[in-house]
């Protein structure tokens, strides 16, 4: 039973991690390889802000989320937009190198000591006959549900969500219809980094904040790809598939295989069904 519960919790963490990734890919067709470093940096930032602002953690979390939104806008404006028209290769390398700059920042500013984000809810509860669940894990599941409900409804019903979907589907046509694609793409970078910050805070609260977080966060690539890089809804089943495979490998084989199995799944998906579970099939240019 506790195995089940841990699948659900890990699945929720993965789906949140993958969300930030997919939002950005969907609108700007950029795979954000700086993702893992961002997770580490943003969770260190959370700890600093929490020390700086006394009072309930909700306040400082709000500040971090707003900061990360603007960080997303800045990254888009100063690094991604000037690269428009360059090859995919260059843009990937750009995000990779942004990532190593973020890594260096988190080492130089925060010294990469192991710390924990405390959300101020330390209790443990027994659910479903014996499985233990901590307060943080309940927050994780709730956040995942609320976040996905919000973002899916946002994409479906709000005007900006429509514009985002339109520019994701066909940038030229969207621009022709008067959508300001620069601000829409910038906004999705903001939302993407915002989602990254949510995942970073929760990951930091559930385990610990250290550069090792990157090893967990990098599995978001696998989750996003299995679900389909341009599909928000696809992340949810994909996250649970990856979580199940990983925990099974951890329980029955060894932890080293558990680290590698998301990538094995990813390779299989790339060869068999590159557009993922729910992605658009025309997405991939074929030769």
């Amino acid at each position: 039973m506790s195995f089940f519960v841990s699948i659900i919790i890990l699945g929720c963490i993965y789906s949140l991690l993958a969300a930030g990734f997919v939002v950005i890919y969907k609108s700007s067709r950029v795979l954000n390889f700086s993702y893992t470093s961002l997770v580490v940096m943003l969770s260190y930032l959370t700890i600093s802000v929490m020390k700086l602002i006394p009072g309930p953690p909700v306040l400082s979390i709000g500040v971090v989320l707003i900061l990360s939104f603007f960080l997303g806008l800045l990254i888009y404006r100063f690094f991604i937009r000037p690269m428009a028209g360059q090859s995919v290769f260059s843009i990937i390398i750009l995000t990779v190198s942004l990532g190593i700059v973020f890594d260096a920042v988190s080492v130089l500013v925060w010294r990469c000591e192991t710390e924990t984000v405390s959300l101020g809810w330390r209790a443990y509860y027994s659910v479903f006959g014996g499985a233990k669940v901590s307060g943080v894990e309940i927050i994780i599941v709730l956040t995942a549900v609320v976040f996905y409900a919000c973002i899916l409804l946002f994409y479906k019903y709000s005007k900006i969500g429509w514009q985002m979907r339109a520019s994701a589907e066909n940038v030229l046509l969207a621009a022709q219809r008067g959508i300001n694609i620069y601000s829409i793409t910038g906004l999705s970078w903001g939302i993407g980094i915002f989602a990254t910050a949510i995942a970073a805070i929760l990951l930091g609260a559930s385990s610990s904040v250290s550069p090792q977080m990157g090893h967990i966060a990098i599995k978001a690539f696998a989750v996003a790809l299995v679900g389909g890089l341009d599909s928000m809804a696809g992340c949810i089943p994909a996250a649970f598939i990856v979580a199940l495979a990983e925990l099974a490998a951890n329980t029955y084989v060894n932890p080293r295989l558990a680290d590698a199995i998301p990538f094995i799944i990813m390779l299989v998906v790339l060869v068999v069904r590159p557009w993922g579970l729910m992605g658009t099939e025309e997405e991939i240019e074929r030769v």
Partner: protein, 364 residues
């Protein structure tokens, strides 16, 4: 009036025939021949001029050059993104370690076998490239990197090699390959051979096919290039050279350990080819030189100016962060890299008293 028809003036930068395209530029004029000769003399005299430490750095640069040449051929010329470079190097290094330590096979057989293992892995990595492009290909090679590293760490763990597999200095006939100075000459020859091999590939049918695929794959298919074959060939050739470099690296450092071949190694190789210039052989060499030498220069500077505090304590972070800044700078300001700057300087002096603009390379 007898006006002999003069041919229309042509730019020396337009290559109108295959014979012109196939000229190796380093040797084609007396001026260049002279300077190439001077350069070779300098390279030969390096061990007599500098300390062991400098020669050790030069050897690392040479190994990095071999590997960067392979990556640049794959990513710069054939346009296939690989994020699994460190994984392929690790495969070469571990094949070497396992064959040498466990089976005692001589270096003559070990190195080709490592290259073959690399080629097989490259074939596997190339298979998704038949269906995928760009980002997706990057992801699949990244996944392959983690799978390779997983397999090797299993071996290292169960073999009981906590800190890596130690390898003895290899013998080539009566010659014992040990010490920086012996290695220096061997590595110089190897870099030259690999560069020549890649240059020959690039200036023949295979290279032209790769460039055609890079520029417009559909057009390449229409003019009769077998895309699947050439893509897989690019992967297999590049990864076998990469594995070869990994094998040499394992012999040179006398150890093969998984921890060394992390993703950050891939990043530093990508930095080399971007800073040097995508698709350029001189670029790979310059990039390998700059990126490999940069940390050593920084160590020297830190000691020279007696810098203490955070910069010294977290030196590794400063160094990788600087890599990032350098790559971003080059991508935003000079996407064609050092090779393009070098070309511009050369052209400026060639045309010196005149000011007409030569044909510029279009940005990709």
């Amino acid at each position: 009036m007898n006006m002999t028809a003069r041919p229309a003036p042509r730019s020396p930068y337009l290559k109108a025939s295959y014979t012109k395209d196939m000229v190796i530029e380093a040797f084609n004029t007396p001026f260049r021949k002279k300077w190439t000769f001077v350069g070779i003399c300098f390279l030969i005299s390096v061990p007599f001029l500098f300390s062991n430490y400098i020669i050790h750095i030069a050897n690392l640069i040479a190994i990095a050059s071999i590997s960067a040449l392979a990556l640049n051929m794959l990513s710069g010329n054939a346009g296939l993104l690989s994020l699994g470079h460190a994984g392929f190097m690790a495969a070469g290094a571990f094949t070497t370690a396992i064959l040498t330590v466990r089976f005692g096979i001589p270096i003559w057989i070990v190195i080709p076998l490592s290259a073959i293992v690399g080629a097989v892995l490259g074939f596997i990595a190339g298979l998704p490239s038949l269906r995928l492009k760009g980002m997706y290909l990057g992801l699949s090679t990244l996944a392959l990197h983690y799978v390779i590293i997983y397999a090797l760490s299993e071996y290292q763990f169960y073999g009981g090699f906590g800190f890596g597999i130690p390898i003895k200095d290899p013998h080539i006939g009566p010659l014992l390959l040990s010490g920086e100075r012996t290695w220096y000459y061997v590595l110089c020859i190897l870099v030259f051979l690999v560069a020549l091999f890649i240059k020959n590939l690039l200036r023949s049918r295979v290279g032209r096919a790769w460039i055609a695929i890079h520029n417009r794959d559909i057009a390449a298919e229409i003019i009769g290039v077998n895309i699947g074959y050439y893509k897989i060939l690019a992967f297999a050739v590049s990864t076998s050279i990469t594995s070869f470099a990994g094998s040499i690296y394992a012999f040179y450092t006398n150890v093969a350990t998984v921890d060394e071949y992390s993703f950050s190694m891939t990043i530093s190789y990508l930095a080399m080819i971007i800073v040097g210039g995508l698709g350029s052989i001189v670029g790979s060499l310059m990039g390998a030189f700059l990126i490999t030498a940069l940390p050593f220069v920084m160590i020297y500077l830190v000691e020279f100016f007696e810098i203490t505090g955070a910069i010294k304590d977290y030196f590794f972070a400063v160094q990788t962060g600087l890599f990032g800044v350098v790559i971003i700078f080059f991508l935003l300001a000079e996407p064609l890299g050092l090779a393009e700057i070098w070309r511009r300087i050369r052209v400026y002096f060639e045309l010196w008293p005149f000011r007409y603009k030569p044909l510029s390379i279009t940005k990709r």
